[in-house]
C-alpha cells in the first residue's frame, strides 16, 4: 500500500511537471493559429515562391521581447507573432526577457544567431537612449530594422483639479517658478522625454522617477505630482478619473485621440514617442532579410492586423523597411542634441 501511495505522489509530481511544460508552450499563442491557417495558405505559398532559393524558415522562430508580459511592447510582439506564424506557417514563440529598462533583452537580440530564427520587438528609441547614456553591449547598428506597426506619442497629463489647463499655463508657471513643477516619469525614456520638453520650452522642472506606469498614474491621480509624463495611450484611464491630457508629441492629431490637442498646435515642435520595431541581428543574410520584409509588407496591408492593434488601444501606423530606416535616422539626429545637452542628468 505504501509503495502505491509513494508512486501516486510521484505520478502527481509528474503531472505537475507536464502542466509546467504545457504552460510554457502556451507562451506561443501562435501554435494553434499555425494549425488552422488554410485561409492564408495561398499567400504563404506565394511568399515561399519568392524566396524559393533559400530554406527559410527552418523550424520555429523566437521573438525576444525585453519587457514583461502584458505590457504594450509585449502585446505588439504577440499580435505580430501570431500573424507571422500564419504567414510563414511555422511556430513563433514569444520570449519575455525583461530587466534593466530593456537592456537585458536587447543585448540578447544583438548577440543572437543571425539566421532569422531569432527576431526581436522593442520600443525604439529605448535602444538608442540606452546606448548613448550607458555602456551597452549593442549599438544602433547591431540590428536590421525590418518594419514597425505602431507609433505611440508621448503626452503630458495634468492631475485632477490642476490649475494647468493647457501647456501654456504650465510653461508660464514654470518660467516664473523654476524647478517647482514636479513631473513624474517612468521607464527608460521617461527622463529623456522631460528633458526634451524642458529644452523645447526653455523651462526648468523637477522630474520624479516612478518604477512603473501604474504607480506613476496613481501618483498623478492622487495629486502627489503636478504632471505625469507618459504615453497618450494612458489617456482613457486618466481622463476617466478627472485628469487631463495637456498635449501629445505627434505632428498631427491621431484618429484614436483626436479630442486631445497636440503639442505642435500649441507651439511646441515635438514629435516624440515610442515606435515598436521588429528587428533581426545585423548580420542576417540578405535573402532572409528580404523574405522577412516581404512578409512584413504583407502584414502591413492586413486590415485584420490593423484592427487588432486598434482594439488593443495601440495607434497603428505601418512603416516598411525603407520608411522605417529613414524615420530612425531622422529621429536619432533629433535625439542626439537632447542627450548631449543633458549628459549630466542621465
Amino acid at each position: 500500500m505504501k509503495k502505491v501511495l509513494g508512486l501516486s505522489s510521484v505520478a502527481l509530481l509528474g503531472v505537475l511537471a507536464a502542466c509546467g511544460n504545457n504552460a510554457e508552450e502556451n507562451n506561443a499563442p501562435a501554435d494553434n493559429a499555425a494549425n488552422n491557417n488554410t485561409a492564408e495558405n495561398n499567400e504563404a505559398s506565394e511568399n515561399e515562391e519568392a524566396a524559393a532559393d533559400i530554406d527559410y524558415p527552418e523550424g520555429p522562430i523566437e521573438i525576444i521581447v525585453p519587457y514583461s508580459a502584458g505590457g504594450g511592447g509585449d502585446t505588439v510582439a504577440r499580435i505580430i507573432g501570431d500573424a507571422l506564424s500564419e504567414e510563414l506557417d511555422t511556430q513563433v514563440n514569444i520570449v519575455n526577457r525583461e530587466g534593466a529598462g530593456g537592456e537585458i533583452g536587447i543585448s540578447e537580440m544583438a548577440a543572437a544567431e543571425p539566421d532569422g530564427h531569432t527576431l526581436g520587438v522593442f520600443g525604439y528609441p529605448d535602444n538608442y537612449v540606452l546606448e548613448e547614456t550607458g555602456n551597452t553591449d549593442f549599438t544602433f547598428d547591431s540590428f536590421e530594422y525590418l518594419a514597425s506597426f505602431d507609433d505611440v506619442p508621448h503626452a503630458l497629463f495634468a492631475a485632477p483639479d490642476s490649475e494647468f489647463e493647457s501647456i501654456e499655463d504650465l510653461v508660464n508657471y514654470a518660467e516664473e517658478n523654476p524647478g517647482e513643477v514636479t513631473i513624474g516619469e517612468s521607464g527608460a525614456l521617461g527622463l529623456l522625454k522631460i528633458l526634451a520638453f524642458e529644452d523645447q520650452a526653455e523651462i526648468d522642472v523637477s522630474p520624479v522617477n516612478y518604477d512603473g506606469g501604474g504607480e506613476l498614474i496613481n501618483g498623478l491621480l492622487g495629486g502627489h505630482i503636478d504632471i505625469a509624463s507618459s504615453s497618450i495611450t494612458a489617456a482613457p484611464e486618466i481622463v476617466d478619473a478627472g485628469g487631463e491630457p495637456l498635449g501629445y508629441a505627434a505632428p498631427e492629431r491621431l484618429e484614436m485621440f483626436d479630442e486631445y490637442p497636440t503639442l505642435e498646435e500649441q507651439g511646441y515642435d515635438m514629435d516624440l514617442g515610442v515606435r515598436r520595431v521588429v528587428v533581426a541581428p545585423a548580420d542576417i543574410p540578405d535573402e532572409v532579410r528580404d523574405a522577412l520584409t516581404n512578409v512584413m509588407d504583407e502584414l502591413g496591408q492586413s486590415e485584420e492586423l490593423e484592427e487588432q492593434f486598434t482594439n488593443a488601444d495601440l495607434p497603428y501606423n505601418y512603416l516598411d523597411y525603407d520608411e522605417l530606416n529613414d524615420y530612425l535616422n531622422n529621429t536619432n539626429e533629433s535625439l542626439q542634441p537632447i542627450i548631449d545637452n543633458n549628459q549630466d542628468d542621465f
Binding site: G6, S68, A69, T75, T182, V208, P236
Partner: protein
C-alpha cells in the same frame, strides 16, 4: 443588464468550470517552489485572448486566488514555501507537521485562506470607490512610513537573538541595493556585470533561502531523520470552530491584508508579515510561535488571500494596476478592448459584475479543492527524502530559471541557498532577510521621491512628509509599533 441576469450568467456551467480550472492551476503553480500566481497568469495570458472577456478574467482571477493558497501546502508539508507569502505558513505549519499534525495545519491554512479571500472580494464588491480614493491618498511620504512599519515588525517576528535578527534584516536591505539606482542612475555593487545591473530578483532569494537551503540540509539524511510520518486525525469542524473563536484575529488580519493590498506597489509580503507579527504580539501563546502556533497560520493565510480582492480595487476603479499580477490582468483586459476605470461599470457591466461575483466563486472553489485535497496532499510525507530532495530541487531550478529565462537567477538562488543553509545552522532567522529585500526599494524609492518633491516645493523634507494628516497618523503608528515591539521583547527576554 439586470442584476439577476448577471448572477445567472455567473452561475452558468462554463463560468463554474473556468473558475475551478483557474483555481486548480493557481494552487498547482503556487505549490511549486519558484512559481507563483503572477507567473501562472502570465503563462496562461495568451489563452484568454480567445475567450470571452469575463471568462478570461475569471480564469486569471482564479489562478491569482489559488496561487495565494497553493504555496502553503508545500510550506506546511516540506518546509518549502511555494511562494514568499507562504513563509509564515512554513514557520508555524512545518513544526506541526513534525508533530504529526500536518492535516490540522493544512485545514487551518485552507479555511483561513477562504475567510480572508472572501472578505477581500467582499470589500472589492462593496467598497471599491472609497477604497480607491483611500489608496490615492498614499503619496511618497505615506508609502515611506507604511514601509517603515514593515521593518519595525521584524522586531516582533523572528528569532530570539536581537543581533542575528538585525543582521538578517540589514543583509536583506543590502541585497536590495544591488543594481542600478533608478533615481540617480548610479550603479551599485554591479562590478560592471550586466546581469547584476538589473538587480537581484526577489524570487531567487526566496527560493535560495527557503527551498535550496532546506533541501541542502536534507541531503543525505535518512527518511525518519527528517520527519516521521504520523497522522493524527482531526475533524474539519474542530478547526473551523477554532478559527471562528479567533474572530478578532481573523478580522484584524483580513483588514491588514485588505488595506495593504489596496496600496499600489507595496505587495502582499508586507501585509502577510505585518499580520503575522501582530498575531504574535497579541497572542496568549506567544512562546509557541515558530514551534507550531496555529494563530500564526490563521493570521498569515487570511491576510494573503485578503489582498487578492483588494489589490484589484485600483485596477477596477482607476484602471491603475497596483501589483505585477494585476498589471498582467490589466493587459488581458486591454487586449479585449475594455477600458478600465470608473466607466467600466457603466459600459461593460456584464464583464465587471460577472468578474466580481465570479471572484467570490473562486473562494469556494479554492475551499472545495483544498478541503478535499488535503487528505491526499499529506501522502507527500510518505515519499522518501531521496525522492523529495531531487524533485523539489528540479522544480526550484525550473522556477528560478522561468522568471527571466536566465541561468544567472538559478546561480543566485543556489548561492543564496548555501548561505541560507549556513544561516539555518547558526540560528540566523530567514524571514527578516526577505522582508529587507522587499522593503528596501520601497523605503528608498519613496524617500528619494519625497526629497525631490520637497526640494521642488522649497520645503524642508520633514515638513513636506508630514503635510498630510494621513502621514502623521502613519508616523504615530510606526512609533507606537516600535514602542510596543520593544516592550514585548523586553518582557520575553528580560
Amino acid at each position: 443588464m439586470e442584476t439577476l441576469d448577471i448572477l445567472l450568467s455567473t452561475l452558468s456551467p462554463s463560468v463554474l468550470m473556468i473558475v475551478f480550472i483557474g483555481v486548480l492551476i493557481g494552487i498547482i503553480v503556487g505549490a511549486i517552489p519558484g512559481l507563483n500566481g503572477a507567473i501562472g497568469i502570465s503563462l496562461l495570458l495568451p489563452l484568454t485572448f480567445a475567450m470571452d472577456p469575463q471568462n478570461g478574467l475569471l480564469l486569471l482571477g482564479g489562478i491569482y486566488m489559488g496561487g495565494m493558497y497553493g504555496g502553503s501546502i508545500t510550506a506546511i508539508l516540506l518546509n518549502v514555501p511555494g511562494d514568499i507569502v507562504a513563509a509564515p505558513a512554513a514557520m508555524e505549519g512545518y513544526p506541526l507537521t513534525k508533530q504529526g499534525r500536518s492535516k490540522e495545519a493544512l485545514y487551518y491554512s485552507i479555511f483561513s485562506s477562504m475567510v480572508g479571500g472572501f472578505l477581500g472580494v467582499l470589500v472589492l464588491i462593496l467598497f471599491t470607490p472609497p477604497l480607491a480614493n483611500f489608496a490615492l491618498m498614499f503619496g511618497p511620504a505615506e508609502m515611506f512610513f507604511i514601509s517603515l512599519s514593515g521593518l519595525v515588525v521584524i522586531g516582533a517576528i523572528a528569532g530570539n537573538n536581537l543581533y542575528k535578527s538585525a543582521f538578517a534584516a540589514l543583509l536583506g536591505l543590502f541585497v536590495s541595493t544591488i543594481g542600478i539606482d533608478m533615481a540617480a542612475g548610479a550603479e551599485r555593487f554591479t562590478f560592471d556585470a550586466l546581469t547584476l545591473r538589473q538587480g537581484i530578483n526577489l524570487i531567487p532569494v526566496v527560493l535560495g533561502l527557503f527551498c535550496f537551503a532546506e533541501m541542502f540540509l536534507n541531503i543525505g539524511k535518512k527518511a525518519n531523520e527528517v520527519i516521521t510520518y504520523k497522522d493524527q486525525p482531526i475533524k474539519r469542524m474542530t478547526v473551523i470552530k477554532d478559527i471562528f473563536k479567533h474572530k478578532y484575529l481573523v478580522a484584524k488580519s483580513s483588514v491588514i491584508g485588505t488595506a495593504i493590498g489596496v496600496l499600489p506597489g507595496v505587495g502582499t509580503t508586507l501585509a502577510v508579515f505585518l499580520s503575522y507579527g501582530e498575531a504574535k504580539r497579541t497572542s496568549k501563546r506567544r512562546q509557541d510561535f515558530e514551534k507550531g502556533n496555529t494563530e500564526g497560520i490563521i493570521a498569515a493565510e487570511s491576510a494573503n488571500n485578503a489582498t487578492v480582492g483588494s489589490s484589484m480595487v485600483p485596477l477596477l476603479a482607476l484602471g491603475v494596476p497596483g501589483s505585477p499580477t494585476t498589471a498582467i490582468i490589466a493587459g488581458a483586459l486591454i487586449i479585449h478592448g475594455i477600458v478600465l476605470g470608473p466607466s467600466l461599470f457603466e459600459q461593460r457591466p456584464d464583464v465587471a459584475y460577472t468578474f466580481l461575483y465570479g471572484m467570490l466563486l473562486t473562494v469556494f472553489a479554492m475551499g472545495i479543492i483544498g478541503a478535499v485535497g488535503i487528505k491526499y496532499f499529506s501522502y507527500i510525507l510518505k515519499v522518501r527524502q531521496e525522492f523529495i530532495v531531487p524533485t523539489v530541487l528540479i522544480f526550484a531550478i525550473f522556477g528560478a530559471y522561468s522568471i527571466r529565462n536566465s541561468l544567472f537567477d538559478v546561480l543566485i538562488a543556489i548561492i543564496i541557498g548555501v548561505f541560507g543553509a549556513v544561516f539555518k545552522k547558526t540560528g540566523v532567522p530567514l524571514a527578516p532577510i526577505i522582508i529587507g529585500v522587499v522593503l528596501g526599494p520601497l523605503i528608498e524609492r519613496n524617500l528619494t521621491r519625497s526629497m525631490t518633491i520637497a526640494e521642488a516645493q522649497n520645503l524642508p523634507l520633514l515638513q513636506y512628509m508630514l503635510t498630510n494628516p494621513l502621514a502623521i497618523v502613519l508616523l504615530v503608528f510606526v512609533i507606537l509599533l516600535l514602542v510596543v515591539v520593544v516592550r514585548m521583547r523586553k518582557k520575553d527576554f528580560g
